[in-house]
Symmetry: C2
Subunit: 373 residues, 2 copies
Amino acid sequence: MPSQTTTPLQTAMPFQTIEPGSPITSLSTPIVVIDEDIMAQNIARVQAYMDKVDLAFRPHIKTHKIPAIARAQIEAGAKGINCQKVSEAEIFADAGFDDILITFNIMGAEKLAHLVALNRRVNLKVTADSAFTINGLAQAFSRDRPLNVQVECDTGGERCGVQTPEQALKLAKLVVSHPELKFVGLMTYPAPGEEKNAEAFLSASLALLDKADIACPCVSYGGSPSLFSAHLVPSATEYRAGTYLYNDRSLIRAGHCKQNDCAMHILATIVARPTPDRAIMDAGSKALTSDLLGFADHGLIIEYPDASITEFSEEHGTIDLSNCIGPRPEIGDMVRIIPNHTCVVSNLFDHVIFHKNNLITKKVEVAARGLVW
Amino acid sequence: MPSQTTTPLQTAMPFQTIEPGSPITSLSTPIVVIDEDIMAQNIARVQAYMDKVDLAFRPHIKTHKIPAIARAQIEAGAKGINCQKVSEAEIFADAGFDDILITFNIMGAEKLAHLVALNRRVNLKVTADSAFTINGLAQAFSRDRPLNVQVECDTGGERCGVQTPEQALKLAKLVVSHPELKFVGLMTYPAPGEEKNAEAFLSASLALLDKADIACPCVSYGGSPSLFSAHLVPSATEYRAGTYLYNDRSLIRAGHCKQNDCAMHILATIVARPTPDRAIMDAGSKALTSDLLGFADHGLIIEYPDASITEFSEEHGTIDLSNCIGPRPEIGDMVRIIPNHTCVVSNLFDHVIFHKNNLITKKVEVAARGLVW
């Protein structure tokens, strides 16, 4: 047993007791800060495009995991939300969202029980790409409250999805054969830039469905990197995207946005300068994750764009300054980092801080953080 | 505003309502399971080595973040615990631990205020590698309750730390010059296999301190990968390690342990088999992180050692089966994964499940998960 404390136990005050109106530099690092104005611009810009090309827009909540932001997306014109897991959808159902698509093959007794309960209180859709998934759903649901099912097609994303239009038809027929289910469309997680191939797959599938007299009210397409190419897939009726909300280094590289369009920064402090070319900051993989997304290093430091975050420990980030021209960071300096990938960062923090012009507006709980089921 | 739900709001029952005695295969995936017997063996094996080579052992809580496990480590003979952040140390102080080393350059008004409060209730030590850090600590603390400080030396780990024994002496003198601080030793985060260089650095530093008449009661060394080489650094008086507790794929590669010594597995379910060579599981970077630690893929699947987890999305893991000889996984199958790196996985789950012989014993909160401050 550990020895006892010398004074009675006392739980410490919480960290990040913020004061609205204070500068974000008053925060303890590392911390995620979100520029409300940039986020609002990102929401408006993408919704305007979707309206222009006449696509229903369904934001993916994985990027923010925060009901209040999904509400802003709906208020801007989005028609519903996209979750990846049942446990996430429950959080958003509790918050009052009624039109939820879960883009996952859901199986397992506990998840199916949750899904049945969820389907009784919201307008729910799920995806499936196998007879195993479809038959499992049919067994769990009942005719009085059938579950809406979309068939997932692999149009180049090389993740889940049937490989041919013929397989899509076969699974649609299987869904139709179960009175506990309702076939409501096709869905794909496409590869960026593969719009032509995807359109060929989807239009061929639609033709087969039409020939079989199976109505297909929705074709759901998606992804932020080539979002502004959505009009190149005329078969699509709906678009799903998440990262566009905050934007990140991967979306700058993809040409989707500029550096100034990135609403999420991670604030970190330089805590050591062991050598002239090495700085250590207090943000590592527990703040930024190890997602490289094809980059050679871990995020872009706004103040020192020639610096490279070369190594992560959990709580340390090692920065190589050897290519820096001009001033280099000193111990105690605060830096702002644009992450390689925003969505994974949202999953690491219980709260994020919102600001306008670098003045804190509020601290918001990341309500669906850590939900993997 | 989103449309209202059709039925009154109702928070769903929690996921993972476990029943002790049930098989771990009854759990919803992805989930972390810990084999209690293997964990106990790992604790005993390393403590026995530390006792044999006469090193005080200070386990790093980053691997588990669970007070009950730290208690088991102390009961086995460890002399105290190692945290990386003030916020983590507070959780363990609340749980009754009295001997805590925080191996970090702590700065910033809020953190220093927490550190002062913490130092009033436990036997606390921190590390520093610059005059900036040391002077900041001195300013925050007071003579009536001075803070114990170790000087961090970079003996090859290339993270924080002074670069020469002369710099170590200079900082030790600076600590001694502040009555608000107490110099209590040297600390290093070494590179595995660099024991000879580290010993040269540390013994030279000790000689300089001795000549300057500065007592150095502790030399803290560390790391799991070359833990069993600790006796090659005779200047060290204390050893810190975390990962040895659960072990992982990186420690199998380092020769520290065998596959059967890995106490942590991630359970996942195969949810799709889009092609003969591709399987998709329901565990991605939100369950296993993207830490590669030099590996080409994301963890070892025990049931299919020839399979390779080639890609992660947040909730999907893509598995390449092309090198699999013999049977391949089917949709619905559960697999066990040894992660590349255990510590980062512990940071993703609010709870982990303990078991003996694959029968659930308990569900335990990861109390210090997500604490970065």
